[in-house]
Symmetry: C3
Subunit: 314 residues, 3 copies
């Protein structure tokens, strides 16, 4: 179905058909990334602003390159040394960026709902690049894209998300995308980080890692954000690793064609062992490559693109 939305705020509000339109469009753009000249003129003369109130080099660069490959003009606005530090409200900052004829504003913010808030008063398109612990839609789209590309489908797959679910926008967006497309989602991690209420999102919750990984077609590991984590959530990194880390030994008790995913940056030896991260089942770097294609697709669609059939023509 042709895309009609002006913004990409979350996965929750997307229909399965809309999700598939993004994934199909991303597939067309992935082919562009493999050309000798990795550019198309689809957004020529358009202005994209990276409004990163919460810093994130890798997501910012992924969006920046996606915009460049669409031939857009792109500028980076980071919170440090900016008007936000001088007490300007987020609303005023965003309206000022829009007044510079910005066509698309990509926002990362530590507050849940910041992108939705902007979309209510901006004429520019808004893309959520992560809002608090709420959603990170392009991450879920690139994860889903990677699964679909490798497995040929999403429907009916067993996907286990392992780690800090409670504080993870990646987990929430993935749960929405996967369940909408028919996957069976299992959540696992320390009880303090995986509350039972996630069962309301049509997920199975288990605290038994062996059970969580045994039948999984996909294991999506979340980063233990030890620089943010409240100390009381689990005793130590070493204990987390021994209880929930994906080790070589644990890999032997998974399905032979399981895919190992991680949104990065990985903590080697904490949530994932190096042999697993670098092993044949890992698609961690493919996720990064697919992220670029997905972000090109999202920029293209919110700017008025209808779907994959238009990409070939660019």
């Amino acid at each position: 179905m042709p895309w009609k939305r002006k913004h990409l705020l979350d996965i929750e509000s997307l229909s399965p058909a809309e999700l598939l339109t993004v994934l199909d469009t991303a597939r067309a753009f992935k082919a562009v990334g493999e050309r000798a000249i990795k550019k198309v003129p689809a957004l020529r003369g358009k202005t994209v602003v990276n409004l990163f109130v919460e810093p994130s080099t890798r997501t910012r660069i992924s969006f920046e390159l996606a915009a460049q490959r669409l031939t857009a003009d792109v500028v980076n606005f980071s919170a440090e040394a900016s008007s936000l530090k001088k007490g300007e409200t987020l609303k005023d900052t965003a309206r000022n960026l829009e007044a510079l004829n910005a066509d698309i504003i990509i926002i990362r913010h530590s507050a849940t709902g910041a992108p939705h808030f902007l979309s209510r008063f901006l004429n520019a398109s808004v893309i959520n690049a992560g809002d608090g612990a709420h959603e990170h839609p392009t991450q879920a789209l690139l994860d889903t894209f990677t699964i679909r590309e490798r497995k040929g489908r999403i429907d009916g797959l067993n996907v286990t998300i392992l780690g800090d679910i409670l504080y993870s926008r990646v987990a929430r967006s993935n749960i929405w995308a996967l369940t909408k497309l028919g996957a069976k989602v299992t959540l696992c991690g320390p009880p303090t980080l995986v509350p039972r209420e996630f069962e309301k999102m049509n997920c199975r919750v288990t605290y038994n890692v062996e059970e969580a990984i045994r039948d999984a077609d996909i294991i999506n590991l979340l980063r233990i954000q030890h620089e943010r984590q409240r100390k009381t959530m689990f005793p130590s990194l070493a204990e987390y690793s021994s209880l929930f880390g994906l080790t070589k030994a644990r890999m032997e008790r998974t399905k032979p064609d399981v895919l190992i995913m991680h949104p990065g940056p990985i903590n080697r030896g904490v949530e994932i062992d190096s042999d697993v991260a670098d092993g044949s089942r890992s698609v961690i770097l493919e996720q990064v490559t697919n992220g670029l294609a997905v972000r090109m697709a999202v920029l293209f669609l919110v700017n008025g693109g209808k779907g994959p059939s238009e990409v070939a023509a660019t």
Copy 2:
């Protein structure tokens, strides 16, 4: 008259005819910003450097986008982590940037006269993006552009500038531009921040806000830079607001077609109330949009453009 200057250092040295050439050229570029493809090849293959020794995200982005829309290559040089921190002089930094074949160097600096200093030894064009409390010429040009676009003229209008005049480069540049083009300028604010000596610049000085705003066609509010202000200049933000803030009540005692301007970022509830900032008389966001057109015009002109008639051809 055709533009002949290589630099834009201040408003003080410009003739009224030169001011009008910039404004007319900006009008031509504003039309470009409204096209689907907001780019012209006028500066293709030219190199523009943003040398921001004093940080300013919004002015830097405005110049960066202006350069991009002219198809120039643009790089940002900020003082942090740079050779200036290693003890290099500003002169050496600027000469090094010029040696990279820079065609235009845009400088913001906390020292009065820094752009003039650079212009004496550089072959590159120099644009002043704000020097100390001295001048901020592109801000005055965009303010004047906005007034002229809305009112159809500058000559004979009553313009009140309200706030911290003493430390404001925006005020100084505006006073020059407005008086050259025939406006009658009134300055108002706390006596500590609006010394009588501004009367020598052909302005009326008053400490009575009611008198200042009553006959104004334009009220240009300046930002109270509380992060910089010396504490002794006025008792408190609350007191400033009650004495000089533009409230809804005060708006009722202005002309019905008054325009409310502010260079941003605004302090809601301090120098301006939210209903006024967001009200029908406010042109604050138009100023931002016009700033882009004015900066395109200035980049175009210092690079050898003659005037508006050449823009249509690009």
Copy 3:
């Protein structure tokens, strides 16, 4: 001879013929920098990443402009606020950047061998923009380019490198390039900073500055990095200056056609007096201009360019 290398990691491993290929290619690109439109489409649709783990504004900008003039897309990755701060390994960071379809990764790092390390597992081309105290190959290439352009040859020239040799990657790369191309290299500076073991690199070592500069065709001064230097290496900047600084008086005891070089940023009054830095024998700013041409050449060659004859065709 046609260029065949995928990376530029150091000068040590290059043959004299390869060095000349870079210099000849740079000469062709220098002509591009003098055109009205300073761009060629040679790297259109290619992605260049500046991975600056150790900050350096001027080298980063030089590479950024070089990439832009080749019409590449370029993004900057700096260590601050990045995944490296979150504990990600350099290897993982680099592989993630490569997964974004990066064609060329330019790395500056405080650790010797970091670029070589990356080149062992990346498919992208790697360019060393300075690794610890080891090598800074593009600096040596631009220095050599400048000498050759001014003197018409390298072979048989007396080149004196004066200053902190021990900790200088610029010195090491210059020694390799100059001796490979037949120059006679003299090293001079405080004994603590110029150990005798450099004689194994086919250099003359002397602690007598008069002797070092008397017959020099080139004097290449190194920056005293007083922000890094261990305090015990020499008593004070004033003493360094009186013993080894290039003063007007010392200039009178040099050859009349000596060239004075410095990689910048210069410390006026420390390693070089202002009259010397700004005098007729100084080619310091030419070095900067040539750096851009050399970096365009290097980007062009590691991306598959064969040599200077291909540049004319772009």
